[in-house]
Symmetry: C2
Subunit: 199 residues, 2 copies
């Protein structure tokens, strides 16, 4: 199954083909591919090259680890994410190493790292569904995440599955058209709200 | 000039070749490429599909707009960013449209959108230097950015230039090796700090 973005202007296939499925195939992800996903995340840009990202990883081959990580997801996500062969929690380090001050861009830079991971996944034929719906406090105590760190998102990763395996409501969402605001709603020149001439 | 990441595991060329130069060629960026950069940003994932990102864009062809945006950058960035043919400010919408509540992932999702933009730029032979060093309050008043929004980063975009055009200290940084923490420092399984077996 494919759900490429219907774009107004041409974009690279790796960006166009990325989307967030809920149906995953019952097929493990090769270790070499996991290595490449995390290596891609590693090379993201970050403020002061702080690299304020961390990843907790659980694969379905280790049933206990997978079950434990599932308990850190919101119930609505557990329903489908339990079938994903790989789960991850992303973590942000909130303070700078060099001076202990608050890093305003910690969450932003985790986003950059995850963006790289997702691009790499797409290149390897994998799909990633990012979840904001997690329980950061639960994750913190379960994994002993340090004090100045915070769980940011969950990632469900694997090969795409058959939408028919999903409950009715989720299957509908799986098959629905992808939508985005028009560029003129969020790209401006000169003043906020003033459309850019090149659009 | 090229500065590919020296990776431990293989990654896609678009991720490997991305880096953040300070020397830009004195050459404009085609409008079609700008369109594709922002279209790529548009299709990022976001929490509740909120799309909490905005972009203010200034090109060197409009001298006033470019000069104005420069004033929103930290002095240390203005030195080199003034030569970039395209400048952008990224903006986060801090509250959800559907209920007005705080969006914990606003900055994170701006990072995802910028990640897409940067991947698209790399695919088109462009370079992007992201800057955390901006003046968000100045940007807010200059561009009338709405109350529940905040400028996040600056972007300098263009074709790569000759490092020789940079002042000594910046030239050294331009030519220096790129470094990242090893994967074993930030990828864990079971407990924070416990290395994953597949690494």
């Amino acid at each position: 199954m494919n759900k490429p973005a219907h774009t107004q202007f041409p974009i690279h296939a790796l960006v166009q083909e990325r989307w967030s499925p809920r149906a995953f195939a019952n097929e493990p992800v090769e270790e070499q591919k996991l290595q490449s996903l995390l290596e891609a995340a590693r090379w993201a840009a970050s403020c002061f090259n702080e690299q304020p990202w961390g990843f907790l990883v659980a694969t379905k081959q280790q049933t206990d680890a997978h079950d434990n990580m599932l308990t850190c997801l919101a119930d609505a996500n557990q329903i489908w994410a339990k079938h994903a062969p790989v789960l991850m929690l992303t973590v942000a380090k909130l303070n700078f190493a060099h001076n202990g001050k608050s890093n305003r861009h910690a969450f932003h830079d985790v986003g950059l790292a995850v963006g790289n991971l997702v691009t790499q996944a797409t290149a390897l034929g994998l799909s990633v569904h990012q979840m904001a719906g997690i329980l950061p406090d639960k994750a913190k105590s379960l994994y002993n995440i340090p004090d100045d760190h915070e769980a940011v998102t969950g990632l469900a990763i694997g090969y795409i599955g058959d939408p028919q395996q999903l409950p009715d409501e989720l299957r509908e969402r799986e098959l629905a058209q992808r939508t985005r605001h028009p560029l003129s709603d969020f790209v401006f020149t000169g003043q906020w709200g003033q459309s850019s001439a090149f659009l």
